[in-house]
């Protein structure tokens, strides 16, 4: 087993994926002192741009879709290959074949190809005019144009974070909107239906129609346009615009044949961040970061997880860039996951992972005031916290999670020591 490839000023480092993780990973290589040739291959025709505004202020019209290019301190010392994708990887020859037929040889490779919106199950229905999803700035521009045309109703299929953000935007624009999800509450899969229900109540207050416990069977067309959804229970909802928000699939197809362990759930990495082959052996010249990476998280007993969080893309990319540049300060990546979501004028944030949580308690604030922190426990330990309009309190709970403090926590951490904390079933299906 060869050791970490020491990069020199004659080396060529390649980043595949021109998104947030690719950009921050490339910067980290430079910060770590790498002076050789650095190429970023990105299949979108744009410099790396920020995606979170796309489902928020771009849809409300506060921002045009094309202004979110990310700040960077990489100067002219990067070769951009934009509008060109990586088509395949030959690890023996250490080359990438690109979609324009050229090849690139690498000494170190950062894989940061992210995810794409999970497609609707029936491809011919997804192609109907009036059906949208949001991953790229072009997607957001098309959906914004459809909302400006003031559809009689929008249906949002999937009440995850992006679905909830889009529903809130529709109400800000005073458009009728219906949010459909098989879970008993919005965000049910991510934060459980106990806290999800509290957030759903806020959406209902805004006038979002909810069809929970319901599943869409078909997108219906008339005259070649989308006109409504048919539910599995036979019900119909008329609408002129559908937003498919069913989560994401990882962009790993281009790794087929590379011998690396990758599927639609991510590219596998070891605890340092090097990618691994089908036998679990790391390739010390290749690391992965961001939405595409699946890695063993030290906080969760080494369970392999893939995260779709902005902060994670930044932190893991910095780690991976340093790792490839041979400056592995702290070899194991294990930042506590965190996330924010802006829904209308409400901010939902989370730290930790709710997965597997068996208990939840409102430890601060009051849901009736739309301002609270919910703390999640798993087997008697704090594993996650979700705040609604209470971001200032979250770091303290983040600390309980990082240190796997006992759950329920000592009374002193709540703002109402006299009140007993109710322990609830978090409501994961």
């Amino acid at each position: 087993m060869s050791d970490v490839a020491a990069l020199t000023s004659d080396s060529h480092a390649v980043v595949v994926g021109g998104g947030l993780a690719g950009l921050r990973g490339a910067e980290a290589m430079r910060d770590a002192g790498f002076e050789g040739r650095l190429t970023i291959v990105g299949n979108e025709p744009h410099r790396p741009y920020d995606r979170p505004p796309l489902s928020k202020h771009v849809l409300t019209g506060l921002l045009p879709p094309d202004v979110t290019r990310l700040p960077s301190d990489l100067d002219g010392d990067v070769e951009w290959r934009l509008g060109v994708g990586a088509a395949s990887l030959d690890r023996g020859a250490r080359t990438l074949r690109l979609t324009d037929g050229t090849t690139l040889r690498y000494d170190a490779l950062l894989i940061a190809t992210g995810t794409r919106a999970r497609p609707w199950i029936h491809p011919e229905e997804e192609r109907l005019p009036g059906v949208f999803s949001i991953r790229s700035r072009d997607d957001a521009a098309s959906l914004r144009a459809a909302l400006v045309a003031r559809p009689k109703r929008v249906v949002v299929i999937g009440a995850g974070f992006i679905g909830c953000e889009v529903a809130a935007v529709c109400r800000e624009l005073d458009l009728p909107v219906c949010l459909i999800d098989p879970s008993p509450s919005p965000l049910g899969r991510v934060i459980g239906s106990a806290v999800g229900g509290l957030i759903g109540a806020v959406h209902e207050g805004w006038g979002v129609e909810m069809r929970l416990g319901a599943e869409v069977a078909h997108l219906e067309a008339k005259g070649g346009r989308f006109v409504g959804v048919r539910l599995k229970d036979g019900g119909r909802i008329e609408a002129q615009v559908a937003v498919v928000a069913l989560g994401a699939v990882r962009n790993t197809e281009w790794l087929d044949g590379s011998g690396l362990s990758a599927d639609s759930g991510g590219i596998d990495c070891d605890e340092r961040g090097f990618v691994t082959d089908a036998f679990g052996q790391p390739d010390p010249r290749i690391a992965a970061a961001g939405d595409v990476a699946r890695f063993p998280h030290p906080l969760y007993g080494g369970r392999r997880i893939a995260l779709e969080h902005w902060g994670h893309a930044v932190a893991q990319a910095r780690h991976a860039g340093r790792l490839l540049a041979g400056d592995a300060s702290g070899p194991v990546y294990g930042a506590v996951p965190n996330f924010w979501s802006t829904q209308g004028d409400m901010v939902v944030k989370s730290v930790g992972l709710t997965e597997g949580a068996d208990a939840v308690a409102i430890v601060q604030g009051d849901p009736a005031e739309r301002r609270f922190v919910a703390l999640y426990g798993r087997a008697g330990r704090c594993v996650a916290a979700v705040s609604v309009d209470s971001a200032r309190w979250l770091p303290a709970y983040g600390h309980l999670i990082e240190t796997a403090a006992p759950f329920p926590p000592a009374e002193a951490v709540t703002d109402r020591p006299s009140r007993k904390i109710d322990i609830l079933d978090p409501g994961f299906a």
């Binding site: 410099r47 979170p52 979110t68 700040p71 960077s72 951009w80 309009d389």
Partner: protein
Amino acid sequence: MPTTDDSRDPTPLRVSVDLNLCQAYAQCCYAAPRHFRLIGREALFYDPAPSADARADMERARISCPVQAIRVEDPDV
């Protein structure tokens, strides 16, 4: 080569805020009210591409943020 075709200003400053870190202290909103604004209690809205003449305001905002959540790239520096 394709480049960004920014619709408002071809060479703006580039700004991003780490909204995980942001705790809505609003100092940036006082420092650069044309470019940072709180919506509701803590939803920070910011302009990711202010024109270069906002340089001084943006710098003031950046250094006033108590959690150092604001990052600015200046094309002329």
